[in-house]
């Protein structure tokens, strides 16, 4: 006797309960539901499997699924926490939470550090910064002489690498960012505050009473 589910509710792969996600992130339940509308759009654009593949991420960002970009690839890899080559809904929401205007600055600083630590060694090495600088110049169709590049690197490291060991560790990065706060501007998306108006998910989609949010 008693209540039982006749059939478990079939959720698409990669879906996660908005109430749980709201509890763990800077988003409200309605905001998570709005993000799900965006997620569905992006994750179905090339391969309709409820997961964001790299081409779909590039398509969403550049309107071009074949555009190779070192930085977009790094962002993709960081969003792909489980490192299985795809971004599921949970990873999408948890990663975007770092970009919320109310997210902790420390989380933004840490995300940026891991972004720039290309080889994931726990340090931002001079070679990595050089590689990123050259990538940026190439994608902007600009060239600078090697001499100028080295000068920029020298100046950057003189400023950031206070322990003088040719690489920037987490502590140096944190101090460097606090002295140069404009470096964190990419780490906040003010748009996330208006997400429920941009991607309305209608009342009958809601799993939770409005009163409960």
């Amino acid at each position: 006797m008693g209540c039982f589910h006749s059939k478990p509710i079939k959720q698409p792969p990669g879906y996660e309960d908005p109430v749980i996600l709201a509890g763990e992130t800077a988003f409200s339940v309605s905001e998570v539901e709005a993000l799900y509308e965006l997620f569905k759009k992006i994750s179905s654009s090339v391969i309709d499997d409820g997961l964001i593949h790299k081409e779909e991420f590039r398509l969403a960002l550049f309107k071009n699924s074949r555009k190779e970009n070192l930085f977009a690839d790094r962002v993709f890899d960081l969003f792909d926490v489980k490192r299985n080559g795809v971004i599921d809904f949970g990873e999408f929401v948890r990663s975007l939470s770092v970009f919320h205007p109310t997210a902790a600055l420390e989380d933004k600083i840490e995300f940026a550090f891991r972004l720039y630590d290309l080889r994931c060694t726990g340090y931002i090495e001079r070679e990595e910064v050089k590689q990123m600088l050259i990538a940026l110049l190439t994608e902007s169709d600009m060239t600078l002489s090697d001499e100028v590049i080295e000068t920029i690197l020298d100046k950057t490291f003189a400023d950031a690498d206070t322990k003088n060991d040719g690489r920037i560790d987490k502590e140096e990065w944190q101090n460097f960012v606090l002295r140069n706060p404009s470096l964190m501007k990419n780490m906040t998306l003010p748009y996330l505050k208006d997400i429920t108006t941009a991607f309305p998910s209608f009342v009958f989609n809601s799993e939770v009473d409005d009163a409960a949010t």
Partner: protein, 101 residues
């Protein structure tokens, strides 16, 4: 200028693009009074059969822009419900009717 300031200019690090759905930039092909007319169009899906298009002038002569808008709404009059001009006109009409009471 430090390396990270330069690096952070990459569009690959600007995730606002993920949210810019259906946004387009259109540019005229003829030189106008103040350069080429360029405008942005953002499309919002209010319901599956109802879309809202927001047009904004980015560059060029304002009068030419208004002319373009008028041509566009005349051309689309069979499928367009309302434009800002229509709304303004109907508000004026109501005001006039109330004043004559």
């Amino acid at each position: 200028m430090n390396a990270f300031q330069i690096i952070s200019m990459s569009p690959g690090l600007d995730l606002s693009g993920l949210f810019q759905k259906h946004k387009m930039k259109l540019q005229g092909d003829k030189m106008g009074r103040k350069g080429y007319l360029s405008l942005s169009a953002e499309i919002f899906e209010v319901a599956s059969s109802l879309h809202m298009v927001e047009l904004r002038k980015l560059d060029g002569d304002t009068l030419e822009y208004h002319k373009f808008e008028k041509n566009l709404s005349t051309g689309l009059k069979d499928i367009v419900w309302l434009t800002e001009v229509n709304i303004a006109k109907s508000i004026d009409k109501e005001k006039q009717q109330m004043q004559s009471l």
